[in-house]
């Protein structure tokens, strides 16, 4: 516990971070260790190459997108706070705390998780997943033998199923609606180590 406290004191604004994300001190320390392990040059910021050093990510079809999600638009580096904030999306939802309408939406609620997933698709951040964006994702997730026209037909069908206002794009509400039956909390959470 002594080492935890000393590490905690190294991180600025750690109280606020814990409040916002809901991580316990032990989690934060763990993530900080990981952050430092990734940050080879000890600059206190992560760049895309640091993420790129994680070999296994290169073998993930959407690995690059996930890396991109860590960086806010226009920024080239990620500091520890943003790192933790993004990871906080993947905390399992707290079942105990009652819904408090006055408090801001917690980071790991269903809506926030869905928003994160939505952003992975919606690269140009216009609030809609256009056909082209969907095609891009599909292309990366399907094997190479699939031809372009097959891809396009899948994309068309998907949009048709989800698109309710017929604008040939999927808005966040339509996205959310199409995934009502899916247990997002289960699908988008990992149990963080203590």
């Amino acid at each position: 516990m002594g080492s935890t406290n000393s590490t905690l004191s190294k991180i600025p604004n750690v109280e606020e971070l814990m409040q916002e994300t809901g991580f316990t001190p032990a989690h934060i320390v763990r993530l900080y260790d990981r952050f430092e392990a990734l940050d080879k040059e000890k600059t206190g910021h992560l760049r895309p190459q640091d993420f790129g050093a994680i070999n296994r990510l290169a073998m993930n079809p959407i690995g690059d997108r996930i890396i991109g999600a860590f960086f806010s638009p226009g920024q080239e580096t990620v500091d520890f706070h943003s790192f933790v904030r993004i990871l906080a999306h993947f905390r399992p939802a707290d079942k105990k705390h009652p819904k408090d309408p006055s408090m801001p939406e917690p980071v790991n609620s269903r809506t926030s998780k869905l928003k994160f997933a939505f952003q992975l698709y919606d690269q140009d951040k216009d609030g809609k997943i256009s056909r082209a964006e969907l095609l891009q994702v599909l292309r990366s997730m399907l094997e190479m033998q699939v031809t372009e026209e097959q891809l396009e037909s899948i994309a068309d069908r998907t949009i048709q199923e989800a698109d309710l206002d017929k604008d040939d794009a999927i808005s966040f509400e339509e996205f959310r609606k199409s995934l009502e039956k899916v247990n997002i909390d289960h699908k988008m959470s990992i149990r963080f180590l203590r």
């Binding site: 080879k40 050093a53 959407i62 997933a117 399907l142 026209e149 037909s153 203590r194």
Partner: protein, 743 residues
Amino acid sequence: MACRTCLWLLGTTFFTCTVRLVVEGTEVGATQGSHPEPGVVGSNHSQAGGGHGSSISGIQIVTFKWHHVEAPYLIALWILVAGVSKMVVELNHNLTSVIPESALLIIIGWILGGIIYGADKMQTFTLTPTVFFFYLLPQVILDAGYFMPNKLFFSNMGAILVYAVIGTCWNAATVGLGLWGCWLGGAMGDIDIGLLQFLLFGSLIAAVDPVAVIAVFEEVHVNEVLFIMVFGESLLNDGVTVVLFNVFDAFVSLGGAEIDAVEIIKGIISFFVVAFGGSLVGIIFALLISLLTRCTKNIQIIEPGFIFILGYLSYLTAEMLSLSAILSIVFCGICCQKYINANMDERSVTTVRYVMKVLANGSETIIFVFLGISAIDPAVWVWNTGFILLTLLFIFVFRFIGVFLLTWILNKYRLVPLEFIDQVVMSYGGLRGAVAYGLVAMLDENKFKEKNLMVSTTLIVVYFTVMLQGITMKPLVTWLKVKRAAVTELTLAEKIQNRTFDHMLVAIEDISGQIGHNYMRDKWHNFEERWLCWFLMKPSARKSRDYIFNIFHQLNLKDAMSYVKEVRATHKVRESHDNLILQDIVPSVCLDMHEQDLTMRESEDFNAHHLLQQHLYRGRKQVLKHRYSRSHLETNRDENEVQEIFQRTMRSRLESFKSAKMGVAPAKKIQTKHQKKDKPQKVRGEGTFSPFLHVRPHSHPLIGNVMSLSTSLLGFETTSTATIFPLSFNLLLNLFLQIDQSQ
């Protein structure tokens, strides 16, 4: 078809019995006594064999030399019978999905046993401890060790050890003491037995059996952590079982009076010696195998044989030194898998895998069939309602209590807690099997007056766990996990999204380092890479281990780019006729529907679903699930997938870097080939990292040369894959730019 195989099976058994009967009837001279079991060479048959020497009346053109071949013939015949039984069992898939194969094999064993008993009026073929422990068990355990998912095993090692050691001791103690208490209370009537014998019985019935666990969990796909817990426990508890068995056996021989603190302390020490000694023997043999395979380049054809021989030797060596043989062979398999897979030629590796599976499956089949046969022997059966029922009750109840207690303690220290449902399945999955039967059959009748009672009880316990718990395991698992109504067909969006989620989770896990780098594990990895791999692996194997090397050697951008161009150009041609690709991808059902002229929309929908089903990349987590399977060998599909994804990612990253770099500072000089390690060159100020820019690939005439140059540049050795990635990446980038600038 079914009738024919059944008839064949029955016929084979009849043949076995009648042959024996006929032969024994016509034998001149001393007849053999009771048990010519398979595996025991009947040396006293040789005197009657052939009958040469004594009285030849004339030249015999053909003679019936049964005794000449009796032992091997019977062995081979029984193996054949076991194989045919398995075939019979597997005829009906609906049946095997409800009742596990092991249960069905036992039933067939009963039938066969009944036939033999009917023919012989005694049970001539039983599962003797010698045959079981020396010839049938080792390959099952070697298979378990060789295919063990190491990472999972070692990361849960603490919990597994707790269950194996403390759990088994708890089970043994509680069952033994419970039965003793009930005996004192008179629930079992009058039997000649004592506390020590109860404890001995408790210790041999307490152990969870690996063969049974695999056989049952095979059908039921539980999550990997749960599986590795039960499975690991079943393998490692042998250390405890052996010690307890030997200790209590010695105590029974000594008699109650001689036991004092010294003996008990000796018992405890012997546990450590047996367990660690056994593992050490296994590890030594693993080192031997790895070293050996390092030098077998010229005899690749018999390379696979070494692992089997050395594995078996490790088993026997441990047995000879009275250490835990199972632990020895398990650790032999676990430790050597990585090195021999790297050292041996690919075909040898495939051979080893398949032969291992054949032997293990075959042994398992024989074990279960004989477990069934051994039961049909009235000489062995002693019925004592109290004893049997109480045993069943106690092992069941105390297992539950033990598991829950231990898990409660463990969860305080564990990183990922075990859930309630997992604990229930773990308790319910504590199956007893042939190992218990083998141990009980080894008891000396003179010391243990109630040996037959114990044998009967053990058999009943084994049947109960394997059959009842085996049959109900799957429904239980389904019932506990799925609490909602049946899922309707997923929409396309949901399917895609589910897969996206999987990939996302895997990526986040990798980024946040969840399954991974502990301080100790890191240290071990470094140690292993520096010293062990240098020592145990061939130099060529070491090089090709590095992912990056693999990919770069294969990554021929020219081919990849031209492939993409070709696909784009020819897709227009493809839509006109039913070509090979379309037929491969779309199942023939779809094509039929095409022909029947359904509306374009419906068939499109169908196509889309099937396309997704077939071609979405599986997430890495799904690949890891259900990794251990007795009968199912994973093909290399995931490796191709991984390489494909990797190539794509690399390509897109290179393209984006290239596009970002165009027109910025001139490229650095290419470094010529040299041996020492290069410092990683960081290319600074690259601009926005945007892998999402879809740049049209250019065709470089020099790419082929560039690639070969770059691969030779990358030929120097590095110790850490973490530095080589950006290093090689940047080198390649510089090369690209050099080419670009020069054009």
